[in-house]
Amino acid sequence: MTGTSGWVADGRTGPTGTPLIRSPRDLEEARKRFLASYQAVQKYISVCGGTGCRGGGCLAVAQAIRDVVREEGLEQTLPVRLTGCHGFCERGPIVVIYPQKIFYQQVKPIHARKIVTRSAVAGEVLEDLLYKAPDTKEAIPHEEDIPFYRKQMRLVFGRNGAIDPENIEDYIALGGYSALVKALFSMQPDEIIEEVKRSGLRGRGGGGFPTGRKWASMKKAPSPDGRRFVICNADEGDPGAFMDRSLIEGNPHSVIEGMIIGAYAMGATAGYVYIRREYPLALQTLTTALRQAREYGFLGQDILGSGFSFDIGINRGGGAFVCGESTALMASMEGKVGEPRPKYVHTVEKGLWDRPTCLNNVETWANVPLIIARGADWYAGIGTDKSKGTKIFSLVGKVNNTGLIEVPMGITLREVIFEIGGGIQKGRRFKAVQTGGPSGGVIPESLLDLPVDFDRLTEVGSMMGSGGMIVMDDRTCMVDVARYFLQFLTEESCGKCVPCREGVRRVKEIVERICRGEGRMSDLRLIEEMAPEIADGSLCGLGQSAPNPVITSIRYFREEWEAHVRDRKCPAGVCKDLITYSIDPVKCTGCMACVKPCPQQCITGERKKPHVLDASRCIKCGACYEVCKYDAVLRQ
């Protein structure tokens, strides 16, 4: 092993005993055995162990199910498996009964007994735990028939629900590491790079840079002492995004396999996963997976007898959003302040410790084994002209179905929001969708038929980013949305360069003023003037893309901005300084529902008589507005 630069990563002790698998033939034999034992168990209960479901109490559910299994004396015949995230976290905890694949959602420990005895043993389908179509109320027993999954194409996520992420044998049983064998034994390094180029894969971490081209430049770059690195970016700093975490937690070996293939193709001597601090479960899963990969012979000296040696260490993130930026990430790995530096000399030439370094996102790496196993032509057949394959999105906000979705590039925003997402909550109106994380743009209803791909999103002023998708309804104020993202970006700016540190906070101040009803028409012109200058002048991607949310908001929702500035009104009723609450005496039935929730006790009146709201004491919390069933509380 070369290239640890004096620091030894977590768990990196090198091979202790001889690895279990030492040749492609060993692997094929092992696969047969693992598959046989994987398939021997036809009947089992799988419980989703993703972070979303853990928050919902899936571990308690799994425990309760195991307890019942034990009490019923079924330990030998009915195993309980904990799997990776299914994506439909909003409906968690999720339990699936095999082999019939009955999909139960929102399961609680008290359901354990009937799941075991009535469903798994007796074969009954428990209606009350099935997912119900929101429109027809029809109960749907199988995952693939649920609208949330029907339009998805789960290539990268595909095996998440089928394998135990803590058990490498599951991954091997289902074909894992066969792409590595193909790469090591029947492809030249340059052929692999060519294959990745032809597949059209582009980076999933935000920029969408063609992966094959990056690999080719890295391959060409000389290293003074021969050390060359590959890094997996698992920093995932976007608030609300958790696709990378779910991939590592659900199918860590797909990422590891991708990294080994890439390292072989580019001649890397060491690899690192830079993982976000706040991800303890992912860290644990990854540590286990790396240890198993070493024990089985996929990492370490002379991998599978190919003569290629390589290992992967773990590095824990610096904690700031900007640490996900490539140069800041590498500075942080070197123990320096996690600040970006200009990239006029690319990191593929001088990256970590000034050595050639290829940084790719988790999802990018996870695509690699698929491309090598099934071929570039197959991969390039999915998606649009310049964006190939699938993309995982974190669909959140005011849609009915939230969660992680994987869709082919080119699907329209309308399909994502109205079919997979099931439309807007409470039947309200769609207003905008924000894509690309905190510095993406907002996209209005008129562009809902836009195909989702890198270039089309950029054309309309937003971006793919890492795959955040926040859906907003008609109660969202677009000025307030711009203010929110500007605030986030001001706080996360590293402060090194002036356009971002000083420029973004000044734009934020102006927008805050507009939200307070103190805006001027010249403010809008000033923001529009500053935006391209901030984008042009900033050192790194954070500042360069920081104007996107505010600029797209002004571009697509100008009337709303003008209402704030000219009429001092917030049409969506969000900006507190611009709204007042009152009670419509005609509509008010005197039900008294609003009296108690008001923290200021400023609503008075007798039962069955119109109530009165004392606006002078109102703090505009909106509690009365939320509870009134008769739309009698007016927000103006």
Binding site: V337, S493, C494, G495, C497, V498, E502, L539
Partner: protein
């Protein structure tokens, strides 16, 4: 670079020859093209932080981008416009926001006036430090003691000794005082003591005091004791080397030679 390649680049319409990989700012200045800078100094490595040195670089085929010239390496055939509307736009943004941050600082006022900015369109603050980082770089790269760093991030960023306390490895040399473009690091020698501090928005931080050493013969000030010791040890000079000023040391040598 061992195999330095001569290349031709175009600066504001004029072709000039230079070596591949050299920083664009240097090449522009050598050719009489003035580009303003704030975070640049020949003695330290470029950081590309202030972005005042922004210029527009194109490939001559219609594609162009804005770069920080102080840290941008030259390549053959590049076409540089130092006063293009986009470049000037960035410079004006930098100067207008810095003037709002530090409205009393002469160097900022002068530069802003040069670009036609008298009153920023933003509320004024009373900083002096513009966080250019020159003091930090000179301390670590030239002096070699890493006594200064940037603290915090974003709008809350501050510059000074760790935790802005007086605790640090500072040797009292004053290199940062010399290099600071806005004169917000102060140094005062009084009553045998040197004091160095950073002052921003009326707040003094990173205050450090050093006992001064004087020549045993003529009484001329020699510098902070701590710094003299640091240099003596680094260079391996005799223990009594700093007892005398250079003049008295020379006289002493002459006396010794004649007796």
């Amino acid at each position: 670079m061992d195999d330095a390649k001569t290349i031709t680049i175009t600066i504001n319409g004029k072709q000039v020859q230079t070596t591949e990989g050299r920083y664009l700012l240097e090449v522009c200045r050598e050719n009489g093209v003035d580009i303003p800078t704030l975070c640049h100094h020949e003695a330290v490595s470029p950081a590309g932080a202030c972005r005042l040195c922004a210029v527009e670089v194109g490939d001559g085929k219609g594609r162009s981008r804005i770069v920080a010239s102080c840290i941008y390496p030259c390549w053959d055939g590049m076409v540089v416009e130092t006063e293009s509307p986009r470049a000037v736009g960035v410079r004006r943004l930098v100067l207008e926001t810095l003037l709002a941050r530090a409205p009393k600082v002469p160097v900022i006022r002068d530069l802003a006036r040069r670009y036609g900015i008298r009153r920023p369109r933003f509320p004024l603050e009373n900083h002096q430090c513009i966080l250019c980082g020159l003091c930090v770089r000179v301390c670590s790269e030239v002096v070699g003691v890493h006594a200064l760093s940037m603290q915090g991030r974003g709008a809350e960023k501050e510059c000074g000794t760790p935790y802005l306390s007086g605790e640090s490895t500072c040797i009292g040399c004053g290199a940062c005082v010399y290099v600071c473009p806005t004169e917000c690091i102060h140094m005062e020698d009084r009553d045998g003591v040197r004091t160095i501090w950073h002052e921003d928005a009326g707040v003094k931080t990173s205050v450090r005091q050093f006992k001064l050493k004087y020549c045993k013969v003529c009484g001329a000030p020699l510098g902070p004791e701590y710094q003299l010791e640091y240099i003596r040890k680094k260079v391996g000079l005799p223990e009594d080397f700093h007892d005398l000023c250079p003049g008295c040391r020379a006289t002493g040598r002459r006396v010794a030679a004649t007796t």
